[in-house]
């Protein structure tokens, strides 16, 4: 017995929702627009985890949830189900990305060069407290170069494969409509690589970081170095009814490869990408991908472990469901406890509290 129907409390429930919403106040288009403009990195993080690219809706979900990220992602995932799927775009390749940042920590001289792009990597992190005293923070403008950077950068992994540093894995081509899709089928183990990467793309940033960081600190079997990190925009290439393939616009994407010297004498690579710009997630995610192949069962870098535990809606939902009435299950625990106290010594030793296993 896990759950029981409860009755009553309607008024309190109604007032509790009002109390929650009263704390957020009126939500209007202006507030949503301000969130979208002021918090692009948060919008990106939310769109990646929601697996839905639409900055206005992400800003609205943030406004409506007051910035509670799990509520935000839940709102967007739920709203997504109201929309029909119109098409599957052409697969994005690394060379076709409109790239604004592309670095390698493993190789100094990479074909195409290193481009820092927008980053605070080498900056002091100082809180601009003067803003609170009425002095706005006005950023210094970029001094543009005389010539533009190339819009597209070559794939570092392709070069490494060509020179024999990385094993060249030949993939069987798959039609876009045959790409395995987690939104239509369950995640089973051992997971298809397409499922693993889709799952990481939708994963909770904090969860991926925690498990990826555990591998980086030594609980994994491969220490990562960033082979390539990219912030870019991908064209959404769709088909016109008369057959012409065109771009319906660009969406922000980030991707990372991390590397480690493998036992085969070649470099091994791990990969992760997501919608929106989210460097921590893709580096940590790629670290998990790199560590997954040889991971022992029940270790944080085991695929089943990290994919199940970083799904934001399921993980947060399971966590907060424990707040809901569990009176009957808990009553049975109490009964067991009382029985144990009241019974004989022999009886008491055999009826300690059992860990509660519950169906989701």
């Amino acid at each position: 017995m896990a759950y029981v129907a409860t009755r009553g409390g309607e008024r309190a429930i109604e007032q509790s929702e009002r109390l929650y919403r009263a704390g957020l106040g009126d939500i209007d288009a202006q507030r949503v627009a301000a969130i979208r403009q002021a918090l692009p990195w948060l919008i990106d993080r939310v769109m990646g985890e929601a697996s839905l690219y639409e900055p206005d809706l992400a800003a609205l979900a943030l406004a409506q949830s007051g910035g509670d990220l799990y509520e935000t992602v839940l709102l967007l995932r739920a709203w997504r189900t109201t929309q029909p799927r119109l098409a599957i775009a052409e697969p994005v390749t690394q060379e076709s990305l409109f790239t604004v940042r592309r670095i390698s920590a493993a190789f100094k001289d990479i074909p195409g060069g290193q481009i820092l792009g927008p980053t605070l990597d080498y900056s002091h992190r100082l809180l601009a407290t003067s803003v609170l005293e009425g002095q706005p923070f006005v950023p210094m403008p970029v001094e543009p170069a005389a010539r533009p950077a190339p819009a597209h950068q070559p794939s570092l992994a392709a070069w490494q494969k060509a020179v024999g540093l990385v094993a060249d894995v030949s993939a069987t081509p798959v039609a876009p409509e045959d790409i395995p899709d987690l939104t239509r089928e369950p995640l089973l183990f051992p997971a298809k690589r397409a499922h693993t990467l889709q799952s990481l793309a939708r994963a909770d940033t904090g969860g991926v970081l925690a498990l990826g960081y555990s591998a980086m600190r030594g609980y994994g079997n491969a220490h990562p170095t960033v082979n390539e990190l990219r912030l870019a925009e991908a064209e959404l290439r769709v088909r016109h009814p008369r057959g012409t393939v065109f771009s319906a616009g660009r969406v922000k994407v980030s991707q990372a490869e991390v590397t480690n010297k493998g036992k085969s004498g070649k470099l091994e690579l791990g990969f992760c990408a997501t919608l929106g710009w989210n460097e921590v997630k893709v580096i940590a995610g790629a670290t998990l991908d790199l560590n997954a192949p040889a991971a022992p069962k029940n270790s944080p870098v085991n695929e089943e472990f990290f994919l199940y535990h970083t799904e934001p809606v399921e993980a947060s939902g399971f966590c907060i469901h424990f707040k809901l009435p569990h009176y009957v299950t808990f009553q049975s625990s109490l009964d067991a406890l009382r029985d144990a106290k009241a019974g004989t010594a022999a009886h008491a030793t055999s009826s300690t509290i059992q860990r509660q296993e519950e169906p989701a």
Partner: protein, 152 residues
């Protein structure tokens, strides 16, 4: 020569993919105004589709070459047909703006119908130049962050 866009000879128009790429990223105000201008030239139109929906975006993994789904993008889609004719127009843009998708479809239909060719070609070129300029300005700022580090 048969133009791939209009399906008619010697239309003298930019290729269809270029037209659609450009319309999808055109300035919002200019796109809608231009669509209003060419709409009367089409005669009566029938709306086949005007809706929002999702496009799944796959990506190719660089490690094993696996195509996987990165996530879904919300788009607005419009599909129109000129009543009693073969002419059709289609628009799809990122976002929720149905009017924007419809404006794209109207201009696509006008291109297929060969209506007001000169102005249309001029509009597309002006927008293409605007897009190219914006990209170039962005990439000049990006180029300023190119780094050459020395190790010692």
């Amino acid at each position: 020569m048969i133009d791939e866009m209009t399906g008619v000879a010697n239309s003298g128009m930019p290729c269809h993919a270029h037209l659609l790429d450009t319309l999808a990223r055109a300035d919002d105000g200019a796109l809608k105004t231009f669509a209003e201008d060419v709409l009367p030239l089409l005669g009566e139109i029938e709306v086949v589709q005007s809706r929002t929906g999702l496009v799944m975006l796959p990506m190719r993994d660089t490690v094993a070459g696996t195509d996987f789904h990165l996530g879904e993008v919300l788009v607005a889609e419009a599909h129109i047909r000129v009543k009693g004719g073969e002419t059709e127009g289609y628009g799809m843009v990122i976002g929720r703006d149905l009017e924007r998708a419809m404006a794209m479809a109207v201009i696509d239909a006008a291109a297929m119908a060969g209506a007001d060719k000169e102005r249309l070609a001029h509009f597309v070129e002006a927008q293409a130049t605007r897009i190219l300029t914006a990209d170039e300005q962005r990439l000049r700022a990006v180029e300023a962050t190119r780094v050459e580090m020395e190790t010692f």
